[in-house]
Symmetry: C2
Subunit: 181 residues, 2 copies
């Protein structure tokens, strides 16, 4: 696909934070023009779609500062440096919800905002759930919520479920139900 490629001429680091790094690259476009690209670098994240034996999706309610509101999402979290996605999925699931999954299988990986960020999200499916005690980080405030498919779609229609990974997971769950899996 080299006909579309943008060649980096210069790269300027703007910010190195705990969660994101920001840089501005000057690029040469396929037509020879130059332009700039504002880029957010992120370590990547995992999320877990898990359905209980009672056919309820395990979600967490938490405050999201960028949105200035509390929303409902599937359990998720950032990769620690050097951490494998499999390990992160198990860790976040147990910390945030108290659930242990006998099996955790990666079902999909996708970029959340390919226009400006390189964040990749590994979506897992957790099955064979057993309940323990949630153990969130000291500075993490989450509440576990379990919803049926209809309840989850109602929460999506109402706007409390409103993030890309959870919307994708709900559609995937419905596919599985419709296909009788």
């Amino acid at each position: 696909m080299s006909q579309f490629e943008e060649k980096t001429i210069q790269s300027e680091t703007i910010f190195k934070g705990k969660v994101i790094h920001v840089q501005v690259d000057t690029v040469e476009l396929p037509n020879g023009n130059t332009s700039t690209r504002e880029l957010v670098k992120h370590a990547g994240a995992v999320a877990v779609m898990a359905i209980t034996e009672a056919n309820r999706m395990v979600l967490v309610r938490q405050y999201r500062k960028p949105l200035e509101k509390t929303i409902l999402e599937i359990p998720a979290g950032k990769l620690e440096p050097g951490e494998e996605p499999d390990h992160c999925a198990r860790r976040e699931m147990e910390e945030e919800t108290g659930y242990h999954a006998a099996s955790l299988k990666q079902v999909r990986a996708f970029y959340t905002s390919p226009g400006f960020a390189d964040e990749i999200l590994y979506l897992y499916e957790g099955t064979g759930l057993t309940r323990g005690k949630a153990n969130p980080d000291e500075d993490e405030f989450v509440e576990r919520v379990e919803l049926t498919l209809d309840e989850a779609f109602a929460a999506m229609d109402a706007g409390e479920i409103c993030d890309a990974k959870t919307v994708a997971a709900l559609y995937l769950w419905k596919n599985k139900v419709l296909e009788g899996r």
Copy 2:
């Protein structure tokens, strides 16, 4: 949901670019501790899921600098200042693919990366497609691609379709097919 809220104590602007603004907020957590939040501000975007009369999804292939690769996505674009999402959906669809949709209906809106960004994406469904000529921005290089449901899922399995909005749109399309809509 005030028990989860994070109160802003201080806000520092790091960067004001063309596409994103970056700021670091110092917040008071529900337990009284303080922490920082790295925040990316974005004007929002639209994407259009459109299926042709031949039952093919309209996609575009384009280079994404943050990923350093060319990927296949549904047509999408950023909101211009003050632009309504409806207008933006029609504009991006026509510019990038040459297709005019008789009807464009918003089916969902979701945040792409709620952990660090406020970008919201308005997902539209376009129906009643008629073909004109694509008219991308001078510095935009896109190629229109049309895929059946099976071909699109194969492209997702192969990793060429690999962004959240397009993955969500594919699962939604499959739901509609399974439901006979």
